[in-house]
């Protein structure tokens, strides 16, 4: 049984990867990769009051979601979404746990409401006015593949376009030592059941137990292996090369996700 969808738009942000055209240039080796700290765009789509409250995880998710939906020419108010991340806002989690370890426990109400795993999805709907549903997932290191499966199942079962946003940010110390995510990384894909002029490729997704693919360039492989959302890099590489191919993405233990890619042009 396979799940199928067209990719109509892509967004990427990560260390040394500033948007899809930039990342695509690296992935098809038109540009040498140089790792540098991820640059997160300010969430200008949010009202000023909300913008002040947003941390790195919201900026990251909104940044890649905006790039992908703009590229797809999608009406974001009609687009359901899947947000998948291995963790919530690590800085807020740290501040809350620090406050709760004090003799007098003073918790910031704003921090608490922004601590929920679905904060980026909430801010996305506030920013875009989209009243469509957002599904918010976590599968630890398998979060990219889990998000891809969920989004592909939506496209396949309900025959409608979906925005997938997979993203992870780092924890500050001391949690960083227990969960050493080095920096922010996010991938967004607009997936659609129907071929459109802007469609880049057709994806067909199945479960498998074959060995998963790694990245040939060692710095990109380090990225893939250290940030859950970057587990999607082998798929991005296939999309950047604009050819047909198949890649196997890490998922849960022996279970892997195979993606067959057919270009649309």
């Amino acid at each position: 049984m396979s799940l199928a969808a067209y990719v109509n738009g892509i967004g990427v942000l990560g260390p040394g990867l500033n948007g899809w055209p930039d990342a695509a240039a690296v992935l098809c080796e038109r540009r040498i990769y140089g790792s540098s700290a991820t640059v997160l765009p300010p969430p200008t789509m949010l009202p000023a009051a909300e913008r002040r409250r947003t941390g790195r995880v919201v900026k990251l998710a909104l940044g890649v979601a905006l790039e992908a939906t703009a590229a797809a020419g999608a009406d974001v108010t009609q687009l359901p979404s899947v947000f998948s991340s291995s963790g919530s806002d690590g800085y807020i989690c740290h501040e809350l746990c620090e406050a709760l370890a004090q003799p007098v426990r003073e918790v910031s109400p704003t921090r608490f409401s922004n601590s929920v795993h679905n904060a980026p999805a909430g801010y996305w709907s506030i920013a875009t006015g989209a009243m469509t549903e957002a599904n918010v997932l976590c599968a630890f290191d398998a979060s990219f593949a889990a998000g891809l499966l969920d989004a592909m199942a939506q496209v396949t079962a309900d025959r409608r376009a979906v925005l997938l946003v997979a993203y992870d940010t780092e924890y500050p110390p001391p949690l960083h030592a227990k969960r050493p995510i080095p920096d922010a990384f996010g991938i967004a894909l607009v997936l659609s059941p129907a071929l459109a002029p802007q469609s880049l490729a057709r994806l067909e997704v199945t479960l498998t137990e074959e060995a998963f693919d790694t990245m040939r360039q060692s710095q990109l492989e380090a990225l893939r292996a250290s940030i859950p959302a970057a587990r999607g890099l082998p798929l991005l590489e296939l999309l950047a090369k604009e050819g047909a191919g198949r890649t196997i993405i890490e998922y849960l233990g022996p279970a892997r996700v195979a993606v067959q890619v057919e270009p649309c042009h």
Binding site: S88, N118, I126, A130, L137, S143, P174, L175, K178
Partner: protein, 397 residues
């Protein structure tokens, strides 16, 4: 949408471990809320604590998952023969064809809260025994359920605050319909922790008294904990008359505010309408509504407006949170099981603790149990981030 059958279900909350105890409490209108004496918490509030969670042990080979949330999940899995039924299903359709979809808002974050009290005085490091991935991480509980049940299919944690485990039904339904799996363990587990107790208190959303949904003097929530699970499958042609079906799911976003509901309940209305459309039902087909009904002034006002705008002012509705407390990420699954029990036993559970219904709330809130055949029940779950989910369950007979 395709019809799905609840092949088996179980729930554990402060009103009982397993469905028999849960039903008995509902029939007797017994609340499980008590004055908060949890851990070192000093908040003047009531909570719905599940007895026996601290004493619960995990199987030795899964001890790395040990935390309050997974102990609660384990306690719940042991009720009603649920674990055995899932293993039988895995034997029948193959462990790779059974998915796991578990909603949680805070998972095992309490392990991290405790670890922060025990940091190295010089380096600030967390204790070496603290394990993040198998406790704190949201996926921990889904991973635990998957491994405990011996499953090898897709698995995911859904974390959309207080709508988490209602939305778990949505993910499972789509994956069943897409043909990737043949059965799904759908559920939720959320346990008491300091983050939610102090967090909701900081927002002035916890009531000092046991919560009073829809009361004119309602003043906040009572936080509870629960784990509830359903084994969901595509419905076969021939069903037992007492089978309970999942008929429709509707989801939406408020696009309004992170922690306050839309004042007129626009997102909630949209979710209920979407659930009716998915089930191909009219509002008049719904016999009873299990409300989100948290007991905060704004939530109940917004939900009442939304319910009235879709159903009018006559469909009986109530919140069971006066009995169970607000079990946050587990509320959707717990109330799905309560809805299934309502259908199977013809019981509309009256809302507890409410002495005077707010005249401004026009929905038909019931305070006494009603016994009548129920064909279809709608259950609402809403959460921070403006996330909404409505589920419709029905009898096969």
């Amino acid at each position: 949408m395709t019809r799905h059958v609840l092949e088996h279900f179980t729930a554990t909350s402060c009103i009982g471990a397993g469905t028999a105890a849960t039903l008995a409490s509902l029939v007797q209108q017994r609340s499980g809320l008590e004055r908060c004496a949890f851990e070192t918490v000093k908040i003047d509030t009531h909570i719905g604590e599940v007895p026996g969670v601290d004493a619960q042990r995990l199987p030795h080979e899964l001890r790395r998952f040990d935390c309050r949330n997974n102990r609660l999940a384990e306690l719940a899995l042991q009720q009603d023969g649920f674990l055995e039924t899932v293993r039988e299903a895995a034997g029948r359709c193959g462990a790779r064809r059974v998915g796991v979809f578990i909603g949680t808002s805070t998972s095992g974050v309490m392990q991290t809260e405790l670890a922060y009290r025990d940091r190295d005085a010089i380096s600030g490091a967390l204790p070496s025994a603290f394990q993040y991935s198998t406790t704190h991480n949201s996926f921990s509980v889904a991973d635990y359920v998957r491994q405990r049940c011996g499953l090898q299919g897709p698995a995911v944690a859904l974390s959309s605050a207080c709508a988490s485990s209602a939305k778990a039904f949505g993910s499972a339904r789509r994956m069943l319909d897409a043909g990737l799996i043949d059965a799904a363990v759908v559920g939720g587990a959320d346990s008491l922790c300091l983050t939610t107790l102090y967090g909701f208190h900081s927002l002035q959303l916890t009531s000092p008294a046991p919560c009073r949904p829809f009361d004119v003097a309602r003043d906040g929530i009572s936080i509870g904990e629960a784990a509830a699970f359903v084994l969901l499958r595509r419905a076969p042609e021939n069903l037992d008359r007492d089978a309970v079906l999942l008929l429709g799911i509707g989801e939406s976003s408020d696009a309004h505010h992170m922690s306050a509901p839309h004042p007129e309940g626009a997102g909630a209305r949209r979710a209920m309408q979407a659930a009716l459309a998915a089930a191909a039902l009219d509002p008049s087909d719904i016999d009873y509504i299990n409300l989100h009904g948290t007991g905060t002034p704004s939530n109940d006002r917004s939900e009442s407006q939304a319910v009235t705008s879709v159903f009018g002012a006559t469909t009986p509705c109530s919140s069971t949170k006066g009995a169970t407390g607000h079990t946050l990420g587990a509320a959707g699954a717990l109330e799905a099981v309560i809805s299934a029990l309502s259908i199977r036993h013809g019981l509309m559970p009256g809302g507890l603790n409410t002495s005077q219904i707010d005249p401004a709330l026009t929905a038909s809130y019931i305070r006494e149990n009603r016994h009548a055949p129920l064909t279809r029940v709608l259950s609402n779950s809403f959460g921070f981030g403006g996330t909404n989910c409505s589920l419709i369950f029905g009898s096969a007979g």
